[in-house]
């Protein structure tokens, strides 16, 4: 255990050192991510000003919904950048190198790479949105709500981590999964910016049961906000985020373990 923590420390130090070889670029990168993601929010903001509410959700509640997405993503890429970029790792032959080192494979994938500056950009935006909206959406931050919120964040991170791990594992079979990730992660995430109740039933089902982004932000937000459109879904869903997160991650991990035997390396 101590040894693992020491190793994580050394990896993190190395990542930091590499980044700070290019200080200006590193800072600009955080800023660029922040601005890029903000643009999307600003568009929604001004659109909503015209409509007032969206299926009962006002602008602040929408920003709160968004904040969960960004906060979880910020944490997500501190831990799962390596899985996000795994197809590159396989193609470049770096995964072969991981296999040749006496450390856990997932351990190496997770801790060798962390996109700190994108994390600052995404997480910073998430925190800003949270600060802007949390006071205005009528949530009373009781200890119970705070604990719920923290569990929901952890669960949301795990759900997305599991999606990354699942797609990374598919790489072992397909070598390239960029388009799958585009569809199953990034497009699904775009839907998740809105209350899922505004969508067609099929999309709602997809967001709950296939790529369960609804558990990353919609249901946790509903727990705290209790909007009327929640009536369409079972009450229990409000509490399931951590369970879905852990369950999905375990499944993805199992799939990963089974698939390693089929690893084909990248040739040269």
């Amino acid at each position: 255990m101590n040894d693992a923590i020491h190793m994580i420390g050394v990896y993190t130090k190395t990542i930091m050192k590499s980044w700070f070889q290019y200080k200006v670029d590193a800072v600009l990168r955080s800023l660029a991510v922040f601005l890029r993601e903000s643009t999307g929010i600003i568009v929604v903001y001004f659109t909503l000003l015209k409509f007032d509410t969206l299926n009962g959700w006002n602008i602040n509640e929408m920003l709160f919904l968004f904040s969960l997405l960004f906060v979880t993503y910020g944490i997500l890429i501190l831990f799962f950048t390596g899985l996000r970029d795994f197809s590159g790792t396989v193609r470049s032959g770096n995964f072969d190198r991981f296999i040749l080192r006496p450390r856990g494979l997932l351990f190496q994938i997770i801790f060798v790479n962390a996109d700190w500056f994108a994390a600052i950009g995404h997480g910073g935006l998430g925190i800003l949105l949270f600060v802007l909206s949390a006071g205005k959406v009528g949530v009373v931050w009781t200890p119970a709500n705070i604990i719920y919120y923290l569990f929901a964040i952890a669960g949301g991170v795990l759900i997305q981590g599991a999606i990354f791990l699942f797609l990374a594992t598919l790489n072992i079979y397909l070598l390239e999964t960029g388009s799958l990730k585009e569809v199953f992660y990034w497009n699904a995430r775009k839907f998740a910016g809105y209350p899922i109740s505004i969508f067609h039933k099929v999309i709602q089902a997809g967001m709950i049961y296939v790529v369960p982004f609804a558990f990353v932000n919609y249901f946790p937000a509903q727990f705290l906000l209790r909007k009327e459109d929640m009536a369409a879904y079972p009450e229990i869903y409000l509490y399931l985020t951590p369970v879905v997160g852990v369950g999905m991650y375990l499944l993805a991990y199992l799939f990963w373990r089974v698939s390693l035997k089929h690893y084909k390396s990248s040739g040269n």
Partner: protein
Amino acid sequence: MSGKEGYIEVKNVSKRFKVNKRANGIPGMIANMFRPKFEYKHAVNDISFSIKQGEMIGFIGPNGAGKSTTIKMLSGILYPDSGEIVVNGYKPYEDRKEYVGNIGVVFGQKSQLQWDLPVIDSFELLKAIYRIPEDKYKKNLERFTEMLDMSGFINQPVRQLSLGQRMRADIVAALLHSPQIVFFDEPTIGVDVVGKETIRNFIRELNKEDNITMIFTTHDMQDIEKVCDRLIIIDKGSKIYDGKLLGIREKYGTTRQLDVEFVENYDVAPIEKVTIQELDELDGRKKRFIFENREVQIDELMNTLLSGYAIRDINISEPEIESLIRKIYNGEVS
């Protein structure tokens, strides 16, 4: 020094790859999930060999022969489809974590150093990864740095190094944890003549002093001739030669060539089973006679020539190892 027999045992190992023929785009990908179309390609086909501890093996073959696949199975990156590999009591692909602490791998084409950081930082990282004790790390680092003359660039970022310097640093990186077996996959590729020589001498010395077992793949015959005791040649996934380097000549080098400088430009009469070539030298007075030493008695050939023509100079030569191996690759000899 001599070591254990059967240190590395490879028994009837095969590896085939499923080559997926798939249509493009997302519809193609989805169609492919339900109805995959596959082809099988044998990368390695029923290979067996045994290596003694401390041996220095040249492992060669043309591109696509299955060298890399074999190295990857030996180092635990790939699972064999059938057959068995046991290295020093470990099955590489099953006991990965324990096994890889005992081996070092140098991929000439793929550095394991941190591109943006000074060389020494990569070494420090490896020290943590392999849990190398401080004193052993210091000792190894000092020794290798001196042997490979690296003190001048150990504090430079890897991206600023020449290819030869980078390769030396990569070799040290693979050796810091004192592995008992080292795989070199084209360790001299792209390195200049002097650099190659430095690397070869270092490898030779290390093999002798530390009795490290080494397996070497390369396309550079000089590497093999200067470094390796034993040669394993594979082609199209099968082993086609396994033995001493010099044994190649005995087995395949049966062609001889006799260059003769005549006093005049004679019209030499055809001789049975001998190919005669005119050389564009000395106004056609020099001719080359090529024959198989199993089919033609050299003394008879000499007699024929000496009795028929006046001769000024004569030179007989065996083929170069390099050209023999090229012929083996091309399937010209069997």
